[in-house]
């Protein structure tokens, strides 16, 4: 299912990229989870219990991501685009992000230039929005122009994740939402990546 979705998305990107002003791109990279804060409270099936946990602090967890994007470039220095793909957040927790990305190029997007990027959006987990995920990102990168619309971007991004995932109980596994009082998780990532624009 995921593979079919990916291939369809790729072909869609490539066919739409034939339109003037619209660029399709594929990006991937390494993400390091550097900070995590979580708070949750729930009643497990064991009678007489209420489990609550609060934890925050610096962590180090390696993650990876792959994204496809369609962006509209305008005014020689700016672009705005839609992005989706697959991204790892935590152990056994990955999302399908749906983000809006705005970029500002210091010279122009038609030549080699540094750029600033801002991203914001939501994400699907297990193909639903029940975790109410919010994503935001601030990045700095460099575009190396190769030929016509073909270019390669290198970037460094600071990503933020906020959501309400289901907590995992030590004895009972994933707790259903009906037994949950609250669950908050926020993480910060440092991402290093490459993007090829067609």
């Amino acid at each position: 299912m995921k593979r079919k979705l990916g291939i369809t998305l790729l072909f869609l990107c490539l066919s739409i990229s034939a339109w003037a002003g619209i660029t399709a791109s594929c990006s991937w990279g390494y993400g390091a989870q550097l900070y995590k804060a979580q708070a949750f409270s729930y009643t497990p099936n064991r009678v007489g219990y209420r489990v609550s946990e609060y934890a925050y602090g610096f962590t180090y967890l390696s993650t990876a991501y792959l994204n496809f994007a369609l962006s509209y470039e305008f005014a020689h220095k700016a672009s705005i685009g839609l992005k989706s793909g697959y991204k790892g957040i935590d152990q056994n927790y990955s999302i399908i992000p749906l983000e809006l990305e705005a970029r500002y190029y210091f010279k122009s997007y038609e030549e080699s230039s540094a750029f600033l990027s801002l991203e914001a959006g939501s994400a699907l987990h297990d193909l639903n929005f029940k975790d109410q995920i919010i994503l935001a990102s601030l990045g700095l990168g460099y575009r190396e122009h190769l030929y016509k619309s073909l270019s390669v971007d290198f970037f460094l991004k600071l990503d933020a994740f906020y959501g309400h995932p289901l907590p995992i109980d030590r004895y009972e596994g994933e707790i259903p939402r009906s037994q949950l009082y609250f669950s908050y998780v926020s993480c910060a990532f440092l991402n290093l990546g490459i993007q090829i624009n067609f």
Partner: protein, 195 residues
């Protein structure tokens, strides 16, 4: 040993050995580092160096230090495998698409050695591999940029020696199946050209 030699003996020895050193250094010189970059794919991420030799035209060597990501995305493995691939490539076709894009198509063979995890129904642990490596790819260069973009496929025909954790830690020798099973996963290469 040199402490017991006279000054004259040392001078003679130096004069005899130095020209040999100089010649070997000079012979090594034509083998120059021409490109360095990143080869990226779903199966592995590599740091790569390409060097050419003036003695053999239409050929180059590639040296890849690879992080094997098998089992990493699915949380089967906690840490990546490491491989070193050294391949001698022959350029089988080269030319220009237009004034701005030049390309080469190459095929090569070499060796691979490393410490990686292999495909299996059982969650097998890491083991040492050694064997042969074959690859085929294309690389395009663009006018006005030192960055080159390419695509590559590679297969590893190797054996794995592994301390089998599932059978009381006995040493086992097996065929490295991942090397062939994952051969058709494309690798995207990005190289920086030094000259």
């Amino acid at each position: 040993m040199f402490l017991f030699m006279g000054k004259r003996t040392l001078t003679v020895l130096f004069l005899l050995v130095f020209p040999l050193c100089a010649i070997s250094a000079e012979e090594r010189l034509p083998l120059s580092l021409t490109r360095a970059g990143l080869v990226s794919s779903f199966k592995a991420q590599s740091l790569s160096i390409l060097s050419t030799s003036d003695k053999k035209e239409n050929s180059f060597n590639s040296y890849n230090l690879t992080l094997d990501t098998y089992g990493l995305y699915s949380n089967v493995s906690d840490y990546p495998g490491v491989k070193l691939n050294i391949v001698h490539n022959s350029i089988i076709d080269s030319g220009r698409i237009n004034d701005e894009i030049a390309y080469i198509i190459y095929m090569g063979a070499g060796g691979v050695a490393g410490y990686v995890r292999d495909y299996s129904a059982l969650p097998r642990n890491h083991g040492f591999i050694f064997g042969l490596n074959t690859c085929a790819g294309a690389l395009a260069s663009f006018r006005g940029s030192r960055l080159e973009l390419g695509v590559e496929f590679d297969a590893e025909w190797a054996f794995q020696i592994r301390k089998m954790e599932e059978s009381d830690g006995r040493i086992g020798l097996s065929w490295y199946a991942n090397g062939v099973l994952r051969a058709l996963i494309p690798k995207i290469s990005l190289y920086y050209r030094f000259k």
